[in-house]
């Protein structure tokens, strides 16, 4: 009887052994634009004995399945409008965050993000972000990916224009040798509106920022500098005062005053304030309560909760000031047909889905722009944009695909230019369910992908590896943190420890 019992235990142990030394296998979900990359990753993982199947989805459909928690691993990307992890790290990696598709949760990271979103001085914010990066790095909730460079190109005759990390496409200093007009081939098929309160996308913003000014603006590298505001000061953790530039006029001749600034933000913050519709932009400002006028050239921003000054400044770059008197006179519909701003270029004619012609505003407060006319042409197909630049129909094009850069570089009189990207690309893992609820497995995958070869071959080197979810262009980036190295041997070891023998 006793002998039989022992035999039973041995058989059971053997069975458990066979079952535990299993092969890691999972489905990697992706979309068309990253299918090549996903295949490359799959074949690299197969080399260490991980069985990966790539499934290509339509993007909207995949997102629903991811959010339902029914997928294992998926390529995702997330853009940042601030040069701060506030709208990248925070939504993606806070427990229950809006973009937290990996279902990652770490109380210490949550606390770090809380500190960084509510503390008003820079040093503790930077320290909190740094700590969060260390935590996230070792938790490895994703297979950390890369940031793509923003590649644009222009005719060599164009001067004074640079691509910007935030796609602002400022034309105020641009000039073109032997010409008075610049035509830009936009990457989109249409921009959304001429009403600065009613859009969310960067392409619309690129056009609007040439027609309207904001209180502050970015340099191409992302530093905040004065525009309509000459200076600002923090009164307390919730209150910020701005001094406006005197003598600024809108393109219809009206002076720009504190009333216009108050009106602009009132339209955005108040539900239903735009003809019964609510601006989708309020979220960008954080817990802003209201903006009030102190006198003709001073306004005050009052927050409900403490808010970092640097985040407010980053946000204000994206809010174009509209003329109250004109808007009230012509109404929203009238404004959309004949928009008026205080920027260097004034709307002339055109339509949102084809081409928009702007002409120089000669009384621009900072001095008139160099060219007489700027045209934004919607050209959604990259090959068409490249062809139009080569044929001389347009002088600048947005979004050159990495594989077409060579074609442009070999052409005479064309310059390819790049700016830092602000969109993080990665593979998110479902941290809630096996096999990716095991940190060793997640770390192993980070060690098993040879990103160097993928980025070189697929993105022709126009991509930069990221150690975590944070962007190098963002505030508080920890440059001392090295990305996971390519180390298949160590990856195999980790997988074995986690119970996958990889054979």
């Amino acid at each position: 009887m006793r002998r039989w019992k022992w035999l039973g235990i041995i058989v059971l142990a053997l069975l458990v052994g066979v079952a535990s030394a299993k092969k890691l296998s999972f489905v990697l979900d992706t979309t068309d634009n990253r299918a090549d990359e996903a295949q490359a990753i799959a074949s690299q993982l197969q080399q260490i004995g991980v069985d990966v199947q790539v499934r290509v989805w339509k993007s909207g459909v995949l997102l629903d399945a991811i959010k339902a928690g029914s997928r294992q691993a998926y390529t995702t990307d997330w853009g940042s409008a601030y040069f701060d992890p506030f709208d990248l790290g925070v939504p993606k990696l806070t427990t229950g965050g809006r973009g937290n598709y990996s279902f990652y949760g770490n109380a210490q990271v949550d606390e770090d993000f809380q500190i960084a979103s509510t503390t008003t001085s820079d040093a503790p914010r930077a320290a909190a972000y740094k700590d969060a990066q260390q935590q996230i790095f070792s938790d490895a909730p994703w297979i950390f990916g890369y940031v793509l460079k923003n590649i644009e190109a222009s005719s060599s005759a164009v001067q004074g224009w640079e691509p910007a990390a935030d796609n602002s496409e400022s034309m105020v200093d641009a000039s073109v040798q032997g010409g008075n007009a610049i035509v830009m081939g936009m990457r989109t098929d249409q921009i959304v509106t001429f009403d600065p309160a009613m859009y969310r996308d960067r392409d619309t913003e690129a056009v609007l920022r040439n027609m309207f000014d904001s209180l502050v603006t970015h340099t191409p590298s992302g530093d905040v500098v004065p525009q309509l505001a000459t200076s600002w000061s923090k009164v307390d953790d919730r209150t910020f005062d701005f001094t406006l530039h005197g003598g600024v006029t809108f393109q219809n001749g009206d002076p720009l005053t504190a009333d216009d600034v108050v009106y602009t933000f009132h339209r955005i913050l108040t539900p239903g304030a735009v003809n019964g519709d609510t601006s989708p932009r309020a979220g960008l400002l954080g817990p802003l309560d209201h903006v009030e006028k102190l006198d003709a050239t001073h306004v005050r921003f009052v927050y409900k909760d403490p808010f970092p000054e640097s985040l407010l400044l980053q946000a204000l770059v994206h809010f174009q000031i509209v003329p109250q008197a004109y808007m009230e006179k012509v109404g929203v519909e009238g404004f959309k047909k004949a928009p008026i701003g205080s920027g260097p270029f004034k709307f002339d004619r055109g339509s949102l889905d084809a081409q928009i012609v702007l002409t120089r505003y000669d009384n621009y407060w900072a001095g008139p722009a160099k060219v007489q006319q700027v045209v934004f042409r919607m050209m959604p197909e990259p090959s068409t944009r490249v062809a139009a630049l080569l044929s001389g129909e347009v002088q600048i094009i947005q979004a050159v695909p990495p594989d077409l850069v060579g074609r442009l570089q070999s052409a005479p009189n064309v310059d390819v230019k790049t700016a830092e990207g602000t969109r993080a690309y990665q593979i998110e893992l479902n941290n809630k369910v096996a096999p990716f609820d095991d940190v060793r497995v997640r770390q192993a995958l980070n060690l098993a992908v040879d990103w160097g070869s993928i980025l070189d071959n697929i993105y022709h080197g126009y991509a930069q590896r990221l150690p975590t979810a944070f962007l190098p262009s963002g505030f508080g980036y920890d440059a001392s943190l090295e990305p996971y190295p390519y180390d298949p041997a160590r990856a195999k070891e980790l997988l074995q420890q986690a119970g996958y023998d990889g054979q």
Partner: protein
């Protein structure tokens, strides 16, 4: 009598359009993906803000209530407001439609100019080298993907030869005020012949891209029905009567051979009026195809519903037109 019949057919199209609209409405709601989530993109917004937006857009109501709301609007002659673009669907479609119609007309012109002579000649010279060349050319035309052919034309005629513009409907320097939305008509109304010429030049490449494929299909139909007609007894009779060969071919054979060609052309025109997403994207042509496909990706239900109704009405209309053309080609056919 004929007018009455046409009117009847048009009225019969209404229930078809409504049925299609209901189907489109339901299918779209079952499609995964949320317009509000897609619209807000990668931003740090609170759940409350998302809920508010959804409420404002009427998306927080049950599907039944949304359907009732949709038909309520429809009974007032309104197609609703785009979720994403915050603009009336009728005006969105109305803006995009002239571009598509203009391109469709140009495409049909190109296709007829190629397909009719080529199809007729290859029928007359059936079995010769000319016929074989036409047949293989037609096969090539049908098999060519339009994105490839379109880009090839751009590289050849715009980049290398500098003969034609790459894309768009008119040069920015010649842009005229919008009145009808038809660039050819608007430039004429503005009395600007240079702009008119420029608009025509912009039409050539997209019309060729679509027209060559259309012509390839059409030429094969014209050829085969022409061969059949040329062997008919009435052709022999006409020839025996001493009718000139040209008249035999055009008046006797071609007219009868055109009926199958008109059928095929009608189907193609119906499709073209729906817009071709690929060609519209390559040539930066702001037409209906792009509008609809982008609206599907953005889950902009309201726009897609409106467009699908338009498609249904267009197909019914084109079919009716085809039937009317039949009666002219062969008076024995009645509506």
């Amino acid at each position: 009598m004929r007018l009455l019949k046409i009117l009847q057919r048009l009225l019969a199209a209404l229930p078809v359009a409504l049925g299609v609209a209901v189907l489109a409405f339901l299918f779209l709601r079952f499609l995964p993906g949320d317009p509000v989530e897609i619209m807000l993109g990668d931003t740090q917004v609170s759940k409350q803000q998302i809920a508010e937006l959804r409420h404002q857009l009427n998306l927080d109501q049950p599907i039944g209530a949304q359907l009732v709301h949709f038909f309520g609007q429809l009974s007032h002659g309104q197609l609703g407001t785009s979720i994403v673009k915050n603009e009336a669907v009728a005006s969105l479609i109305g803006n995009a439609l002239p571009a598509t119609i203009e391109l469709t007309f140009a495409t049909v012109l190109v296709a007829l100019l190629i397909a009719l002579p080529v199809g007729v000649l290859s029928a007359i010279y059936q079995g010769t080298w000319l016929d074989r060349a036409v047949l293989s050319g037609a096969l090539l035309g049908i098999s060519m993907p339009s994105f490839w052919f379109g880009l090839l034309l751009i590289l050849l005629f715009a980049v290398e030869a500098h003969l034609l513009p790459t894309s768009g409907r008119i040069s920015s320097t010649l842009l005229v005020d919008k009145r009808t939305g038809f660039m050819l008509i608007d430039t004429l109304l503005a009395g600007d012949l240079r702009a008119f010429g420029d608009a025509v030049r912009h039409l050539v490449l997209p019309a060729l891209t679509l027209g060559v494929v259309f012509a390839a299909v059409l030429a094969r139909v014209v050829r085969s029905s022409m061969i059949e007609a040329l062997h008919r007894q009435y052709v022999t009779t006409a020839r025996a009567k001493g009718v000139r060969e040209a008249a035999v071919i055009v008046k006797h054979a071609l007219r009868n051979a055109l009926i199958p060609a008109v059928t095929v052309a009608g189907l193609q025109v119906g499709e073209l009026l729906g817009g071709n997403m690929i060609v519209e994207t390559i040539f930066a042509w702001p037409g209906v195809g792009r509008l609809v496909v982008n609206s599907i990706f953005a889950r902009d239900y309201v726009v897609v519903q409106g467009a699908v109704m338009l498609y249904a009405i267009t197909y019914v209309g084109v079919n009716l037109l085809v039937d009317v053309i039949y009666t002219f080609l062969n008076p024995r056919i009645v509506l």
